[in-house]
């Protein structure tokens, strides 16, 4: 009798102690500014780490079936395919030890993938199931490389006419343009001291937001900037993102999104965040980052404010405007999903 009463009393006591814990963190974390604010779900991925391990999560795309594809340099499964609820549907890829760039292109109704491999020094075009269609080696005809090891492609962007632009972001920082058959057309960018030059041309995308003036947006990550070029490689302007080590630009609708690997005020210290630019390429929101501020046209230095991310490497915006963030060197963690509020 006494023991039962003791059990009852202590159980109720424990209950009373635990309930406040549940309510303590109740204020929901909302990241971002203006009309681009998101709530965060760090437990989105349901992948079993024993069956579907990851190393660095480099980039993500969404296919026409709505599936979320993740590229990792874990050669047990370089590509993991999720549904939007975080469940693993499929996986493939064992020959991409340097898997870094991942771009999807709709070609004649079919989804094509372009993988940049840092270790293989190649760009590989595959079907959505991983069947290799074309492999692009370093461009000998460009006359700017003496051997494959100098060419470390990080990203591709495919123009509406099928032209392939490759960013050699860890090599010589050139942008190489090929036609859809993989024939070399020209190169531009590269290292140097003029505004048209690049330093760590980490990412590239085609910007069709101004239909009359399609252009390329290229990351110059060490310079904390994006640079715009026309489709023939002529330099147009620099978009200064002072403080932000931007990875590749991702355009969806009117907005340009980019993972920011780290803050310039705190390098080497897991200081990443996500930045969002509007159609005028003005920063309107920083998820886990400082409130965007401009002095006239000059942007104020941006930096991480909340340690929600470590080293974000890519963002994906899906068909429902949800955001997924893949991270590099972040303890082999899986992507995080965010929903707009």
């Amino acid at each position: 009798m006494k023991r039962n009463e003791f059990v009852k009393a202590s159980s109720l006591g424990l209950l009373g102690a635990l309930l406040p814990v549940q309510y303590m963190g109740k204020t929901e974390v909302i990241l971002g500014h203006n009309n681009k604010r998101y709530k965060i779900n760090t437990r989105w991925s349901q992948a079993d780490v024993a069956r579907y391990p990851v190393n660095n999560c480099h980039e993500m795309v969404q296919d026409k079936k709505g599936r979320i594809l993740l590229l990792t340099d874990e050669t047990r499964n370089n590509v993991l395919i999720y549904n939007k609820n975080g469940k693993i549907l499929d996986s493939w890829g064992t020959e991409y030890p340097g898997a870094h760039g991942f771009t999807l292109f709709h070609e004649n109704g079919e989804d094509m993938l372009f993988i940049c491999d840092n270790n293989r020094h190649q760009v590989i075009k595959t079907t959505i199931d991983g069947r290799v269609l074309m492999t692009l080696d370093y461009p000998k005809e460009a006359g700017i490389y003496t051997k494959a090891e100098e060419y470390v492609p990080t990203e591709t962007a495919i123009a509406p006419n099928g032209d392939i632009y490759v960013a050699d972001g860890y090599g010589k920082d050139y942008i190489i343009q090929y036609n859809h058959k993989g024939e070399y057309i020209r190169h531009f960018g590269g290292k140097g001291d003029t505004p048209a030059h690049l330093s760590n041309a980490h990412g590239i995308c085609v910007d069709l937001r101004d239909k009359a003036n399609p252009c390329l947006v290229v990351s110059s990550r060490v310079q904390n900037a994006f640079k715009r070029y026309d489709l023939a490689g002529k330099y147009l302007e620099t978009i200064d993102l002072k403080g932000a080590w931007v990875c590749r630009p991702v355009i969806k609708g009117e907005y340009l999104y980019a993972a920011v690997l780290q803050s310039n005020n705190s390098t080497g210290a897991q200081s990443g965040f996500v930045t969002i630019l509007d159609k005028n390429n003005k920063v309107v929101s920083n998820l886990a980052g400082s409130t965007p501020q401009y002095q006239g046209n000059q942007i104020e230095e941006m930096y991480q404010t909340i340690k929600a991310f470590q080293y974000p490497h890519d963002v994906l915006i899906d068909d429902e405007e949800c955001m997924y963030v893949a991270q590099w060197n972040s303890g082999k963690t899986y992507p995080i999903k965010l929903e707009q509020v």
Partner: protein
């Protein structure tokens, strides 16, 4: 009905005669209802909310070195946060002074520490910077030639009162990769020197280490006499980059117009570092005498 495997019916639970809950069922009731409920609540509470930490606030200043006085600005563009700081080397707490406007620094050596707090997130780590006032006038400096990539504005870089930031490409640092670095300071006049200061950079990520040892000499009786020395530990658990201002003492003070600082670099980068076995770098941006 069955709850958590306990079969019971309501009227059987309560003994019709005494209106008390039957003992056996009461024990089972405890075990099978309350404990799982507690377990459920516990798991719900731990999954309830990610608890993020704030990033460190910014300390903004043109240089950590000044002649008479300077102001330090602190910034953190995140709503509903407060920056708290100390000037006495203590770790800031929620009771420390609240930052509202740039802080005036006038003392010779001030360690500013700041932290940001909010009700939604966990407090940030501490950010720190040391602000150093000018000392005895130095006429000129000679030094071992630095590496071509990090030669600043030449020897004057060490006495221009510019620096104290962790930006290695700002031109305020001299970078060396030789085994030994020597710096000779010529004071404007012969006077009693009590302290010598050297400002170094530690940035393991950029292969910049603290020297293994520093020796300081004062010129007296036609020779350089050793007056102080220090050895340095490399701390592999340290993250990020930071300035390390080191002060040497000349016991009782020595009247001189020439001082020499000899820095001995770590001969080989230690095993725990990605660059193990290679030559290390040291970076120096300023020297002072007091």
């Amino acid at each position: 009905m069955s709850i958590f495997g306990t079969k019971f019916t309501l009227n059987r639970a309560i003994c019709s005669k005494t209106k008390k809950i039957r003992p056996a069922l009461r024990t089972r009731y405890m075990k099978n209802l309350i404990l799982p409920t507690l377990l459920l609540l516990y798991t719900v509470s731990t999954n309830a909310q990610d608890s993020f930490q704030l990033a460190r606030p910014l300390l903004k200043y043109p240089s950590a070195f000044f002649t008479n006085e300077m102001s330090v600005e602190m910034a953190f563009a995140e709503p509903s946060t407060q920056i708290r700081y100390t000037l006495d080397g203590q770790e800031p707490t929620e009771d420390s002074p609240l930052y509202t406007q740039p802080v005036r620094i006038t003392k010779r050596f001030t360690s500013v520490k700041a932290r940001v707090f909010s009700t939604i997130y966990q407090p940030s780590d501490v950010i720190e910077a040391t602000f150093i006032k000018d000392g005895l006038p130095i006429k000129s400096v000679e030094n071992t030639p630095p590496n071509q990539k990090y030669k600043g504005s030449g020897a004057v870089t060490l006495i221009d009162n510019k620096g104290g930031t962790t930006n290695i490409s700002g031109g305020t640092w001299l970078g060396f990769q030789t085994d030994t670095v020597e710096i000779v300071m010529h004071l404007s006049k012969k006077e009693k020197v009590k302290n010598v200061l050297v400002n170094l950079l530690r940035d393991y990520g950029s292969w910049i280490f603290l020297p293994e040892k520093i020796e300081v000499f004062a010129f007296k009786n036609n020779a350089f006499q050793l007056v102080d020395n220090k050895t340095f530990e490399q701390n592999k658990n340290v993250n990020g980059s930071a300035c390390v201002a080191t002060v040497f003492a000349l016991k009782n003070g020595i009247k001189t117009d020439k001082l020499k600082i000899q820095l001995h670099l770590v001969k080989q980068i230690p095993d725990w570092h990605a660059g193990k076995g290679n030559k290390s770098w040291i970076f120096i941006d300023e020297v002072k005498a007091y």
